[in-house]
């Protein structure tokens, strides 16, 4: 009761602060800027906030907060455009949305998918804020109850979603997830600093691969290449079916799913150290399990959009708890946010444990500014969705070069190395083959995303547990099997059992025809070869660095074991069995007018030309050549589109103060921006 006695006046003060015209004005300004920069996949929040930082110095705290929160809040909303319309996962928060959102766009239901997603986001954001208003007062002990064993179990629960998304041949799904986990271990180990599948001679690899690049490579590149080969529009027949009002109705019909997923989002978001990487997969898994007719998942089931989208905005609210109460950022943009708050006003607001005691009104303002920003952002997005959805009716050949431009730029921003582009191409190639042979791409991505948490939490929990066990057996057991851990184990077991039973009905890649043995077999052998090399490589790490080698060894062995069984099955089963699924045998890819390699060569040429003359000059040549030769456009059209592309790129990069990949030319002569 005493708690509420302080909370209610603070809540009143907070609304008093928020509901001033100038504060709302700054909020809307922030939202609009956030939507504008949110176009770039994987860049939005951090780039936008860094841009605002210089202005935060000494600014009136509430105005600064409104501006920054407006910008951060809409990123998980606006990147839904890219994931639904283009199949490009903008951030880890919108990966699961791609699974059903993009197929809906392909069916001509882009507007419906978008408005369902936005309604869910809006609702999730509000549920999150309401929940937080109460929860934030009692959150501290609850957050502290989540130790390393608990976090490990949540990570494993996330990993168990592989069971649902494994596809028709569960073994292939497990192997794909294993491969994702192994790719995630590339680079310098967190614990002992040993190198896995990397060398100091190639510094790029020592940092490991970035999520943006793997997400773009696994989901976006294969879809772009496939659509480009078919030379059609994203929406089949270039017609739009259901409109934006249907999406809102869909959301309302599934409001309880939306409530449950919002709660999942806010609760998982509260736990520091996990961030958003697992939330949307857990929400997606829950959506699948709670749906009676599962046959539409992966082919454009609206519940598959509503679930993850409800959770990802609620998660942002949950993520405020570790950020504000402990001063520990839940994400990159939250980290800048903390830094920026210290610059505000006279610097009195210190994010951290004193936040609740000294600045409860500011805390509540932040929570509700976030919710309000969600509302404003969502309304703008829904208003725009009908128009933007028309993009899916354009002949894809006119969109593709811009998408190659965008994903290359986004990939480069993740590390500012030329190697980023190469990595995007190589991962894209892996994505193309995973898709072709019906190996679960979501499983691969889940594996990759959770690779680092699995390894980190396993090692750390093991070390602390053995420390406790040395004290006494009872203390060790108490640490490892806390009530939360036991509940999570039960949830995981149930979800795996249900998942395996349901997995066969969910075909993320559609019903892929099976063909001859040769091509799928070769792909399997290539994967096995990589796993063997990675295992030998991990085994070479000296034993005193056991923490750096144990996870790659165990995961690699399990994956290899799955592959060996697959190999035996492939040898024994006849041609035409589902295990030999191959998209080049029948279906859209097989009948496409353009070949895989000639299409991919266009992308490769952009990267190669960048290496020589730098990105902007390469892009100039690429766009002109592509529109003239591949699209067969008139010179006038070609020049207009090229100018638009280059202009847009320079405008955005200039505003965000970003560089372009330089080439050999730039090493020789110094050129002015944007050519440098």
């Amino acid at each position: 009761m005493e708690v509420f006695a302080t909370a209610l006046p603070a809540l009143g003060d907070a609304w008093g602060l928020i509901l001033q015209p100038i504060v709302l004005g700054y909020l809307v300004l922030g939202v609009v800027m956030g939507l504008a920069v949110g176009v770039f996949p994987g860049l939005g929040g951090i780039a936008g906030l860094s841009l605002l930082l210089p202005f935060m110095f000494g600014m009136d705290p509430i105005l600064g907060l409104a501006l920054m929160i407006g910008m951060v809040a809409v990123v998980p909303t606006s990147d839904t455009f890219a994931s639904v319309l283009m199949g490009i996962p903008g951030s880890s928060a919108s990966q699961a949305t791609v699974l059903d959102g993009f197929p809906m766009a392909k069916k001509g239901e882009a507007a419906r998918a978008l408005s369902a997603a936005f309604s869910s986001s809006l609702f999730g954001g509000l549920v999150g804020a309401t929940f937080l208003t109460m929860f934030i007062l009692i959150a501290r002990p609850i957050v502290l109850a989540f130790g390393l064993p608990e976090m490990l179990m949540i990570t494993i629960l996330g990993l168990s979603m592989v069971a649902i998304l494994a596809g028709r041949i569960p073994l292939k799904g497990v192997a794909a997830a294993g491969l994702g986990l192994m790719v995630g271990t590339i680079g310098e180990a967190d614990a002992g600093g040993s190198l896995r599948m990397a060398t100091y001679d190639i510094p790029y690899l020592t940092d490991g691969l970035k999520l943006v690049i793997v997400g773009l490579g696994i989901f976006a590149v294969p879809e772009i290449v496939s659509l480009l080969r078919q030379d059609r529009s994203i929406a089949k027949g270039a017609s739009l079916g259901a409109g934006w009002l249907d999406g809102v109705k869909d959301w309302f019909a599934n409001i309880w799913l939306s409530v449950r997923c919002s709660i999942i989002g806010v609760v998982v978001g509260v736990i520091p150290g996990l961030g958003g990487s697992v939330v949307d997969w857990i929400a997606y898994g829950h959506s699948v399990q709670s749906t009676k007719d599962k046959s539409n998942f992966g082919k454009g089931e609206v519940r598959g959009v509503i679930g993850p989208e409800s959770s990802n905005n609620a998660k942002e609210g949950g993520g405020l708890v570790p950020t504000l109460l402990f001063g520990i950022p839940g994400s990159g943009s939250m980290a800048i946010f903390i830094g920026a708050v210290a610059l505000l006003g006279s610097g009195d607001i210190e994010v951290g444990p004193s936040m609740l005691k000294d600045n409860l009104d500011i805390t509540y303002s932040i929570v509700w500014l976030l919710a309000l920003a969600n509302v404003v952002g969502t309304i703008l997005c829904i208003a725009a969705s009908g128009g933007i959805a028309k993009l899916t009716t354009i002949r894809f050949t006119y969109l593709a070069p811009f998408l190659f431009m965008l994903i290359s730029f986004a990939a480069f921003q993740s590390g500012q190395n030329f190697e980023d582009l190469l990595a995007l191409f190589v991962i894209g190639l892996i994505g193309i083959f995973l898709r072709r042979f019906d190996w679960s791409r979501p499983a691969f991505l889940i594996g990759f995303v959770l690779s680092n948490p699995v390894e980190k939490f396993t090692n750390q929990a093991f070390q602390i547990a053995s420390f406790r066990f040395r004290k006494s057996f009872g203390e060790g057991m108490e640490y490892v099997f806390s009530p939360i851990v036991i509940v999570l184990i039960l949830v995981t077991v149930v979800s795996v059992i249900l998942g395996i039973r349901q997995a066969k009905m969910i075909m993320a890649e559609g019903n892929v025809q099976a063909g001859t043995k040769r091509a799928p077999l070769i792909f399997l052998l290539v994967i096995m070869a990589y796993l063997i090399v990675a295992l030998v490589n991990a085994n070479m790490i000296p034993d005193y660095n056991m923490t750096d080698k144990i996870i790659p060894l165990v995961i690699g062995s399990v994956s290899l074991f799955c592959c060996v069984i697959l190999l035996i099955q492939m040898m024994r089963r006849p041609e035409g069995d589902a295990i030999f699924a191959d998209k080049e045998i029948a279906g859209e890819d097989a009948t496409a007018p353009h070949g895989l390699w000639s299409t991919l060569a266009w992308f490769a040429s952009l990267i190669a030309a960048t290496w020589v003359v730098g990105f902007i000059l390469a892009l100039l040549g690429f766009l002109i050549a592509f529109f003239r030769i591949r699209a067969g456009a008139s010179w006038q059209m070609t020049l207009i589109l090229t100018a638009c592309g280059i202009g847009f790129m320079c405008l955005m990069a200039g505003a965000l103060n970003r560089d372009f990949p330089p080439g050999l030319l730039q090493d020789l002569v110094s050129l002015p921006w944007p050519l440098k």
């Binding site: 967190d190 614990a191 600093g193 510094p203 990159g332 980290a335 004193s354 070390q463 110094s670």
Partner: protein
């Protein structure tokens, strides 16, 4: 400092006037230009906070009030950005580079990734911080100014890695004869504090600003007991009490009070060398090596103006801690102390890293 600056600028002026320097000293003016302050870390770390604090102040103080933007170039534990800066040469004075202890330590330990040389660069500003180690309530009760009663306790500590700044606390605890087991692989000191708060770790250290923001409330609530600071350097290079925490003893004092811990000898020299490189001179701002003197002077004067602002003590203590900011010749001296570790100290630390943690840096 102001005097020495004045003197040097007078001397430079005289030389120019005497026609010894070939071009006439052009007036440096950055009007309409954009200065890029490159940080070899991500947007999220302490160095970002540091550069973002100074950037707007520097912008006001430089001639022509250029825009100062902070750019981030993270990778390979900051060696990527430093290797990149090594390749840069003076263009129009619009490139500034910031390093931190995490850039200094690999350099001092001859990490194979290091392809940069601090002595090639021109320092224009340097600033430091302090650090505080603390214990949980139960073990803190046993602490009496010496570590004698702590030698039988098993400690666990959340660490970012033995070759990082964590080298300083880990070596200090080892010298005190304490049995501290590091749990490696955490991402920042905030995560370490959280591990401490959850009771998984029972010893922790934070840099000054982290301690003030996150750990003081724990101390006030009786959940943590401060043990020692690393101290601060006086003008003669002696370790004295940290001005931010005058009531907490330094490691030097605790070491003197603890049986078997020596404040002389190779272990002490090694610890002190790495402490100096990591804390009192933690962050430095550099211009490329071939920058003309008048540009260097413009930056020096600008940073001087910043530190002489009436409100500087006030705003800086809240944002980057109240530690001295060295400018001009002061920053040169600071660079010397931060990057000169004698071979014995280096060898001692390399051997210790190998024996205690199996880390080999080559």
């Amino acid at each position: 400092m102001a005097i020495s600056n004045f003197t040097r600028r007078t001397v430079v002026g005289l030389i120019a006037a005497a026609g010894l320097a070939a071009p006439a000293a052009a007036e440096v003016d950055f009007s309409g230009k954009t200065i890029e302050w490159v940080i070899p870390f991500s947007e999220t770390g302490g160095s970002a906070k540091w550069a973002n604090f100074f950037a707007p102040l520097l912008s006001e103080a430089l001639p022509g009030q250029p825009t100062v933007v902070v750019k981030f170039m993270p990778g390979a534990g900051s060696t990527k950005g430093a290797n990149w800066f090594q390749e840069q040469s003076h263009d129009d004075g619009t490139l500034l580079f910031g390093t931190s202890g995490s850039t200094q330590f690999p350099y001092l330990l001859s990490d194979p990734r290091v392809r940069y040389e601090y002595n090639d660069w021109i320092p224009v500003m340097a600033s430091g911080t302090g650090g505080v180690a603390y214990l949980n309530a139960e073990d803190g009760a046993k602490f009496d100014g010496s570590a004698n009663a702590l030698k039988d306790t098993n400690f666990i500590y959340g660490s970012q890695g033995a070759t990082r700044l964590d080298l300083v606390p880990l070596l200090a605890w080892q010298m005190l004869g304490m049995n501290v087991e590091p749990v490696f692989g955490i991402k920042g000191r905030g995560d370490g504090r959280l591990m401490f708060e959850r009771g998984e770790a029972n010893i922790d250290y934070q840099t000054s600003s982290g301690y003030l923001g996150g750990s003081v409330p724990l101390v006030e609530a009786g959940q943590a007991v401060p043990m020692m600071t690393w101290g601060a350097l006086d003008a003669d290079g002696n370790i004295v009490r940290d001005p931010t925490f005058p009531d907490i003893p330094t490691f030097k004092e605790v070491c003197e009070a603890t049986d078997g811990c020596e404040t002389s000898g190779e272990a002490w020299d090694a610890w002190k060398a790495f402490f100096v490189a990591g804390f009192p001179v933690q962050k430095l701002a550099f211009l490329p090596g071939d920058t003309p003197q008048e540009v260097v002077d413009a930056y020096t004067a600008a940073f001087q103006t910043v530190t002489e602002r009436g409100d500087f003590a006030d705003i800086s203590s809240k944002r980057v801690g109240k530690y001295p900011v060295f400018v001009g010749d002061g920053s040169k001296a600071a660079l010397q102390t931060a990057t000169n570790v004698d071979d014995d100290a280096k060898q001692y630390v390399l051997n210790w890293l190998k024996e205690a943690y199996g880390v080999e840096l080559n």
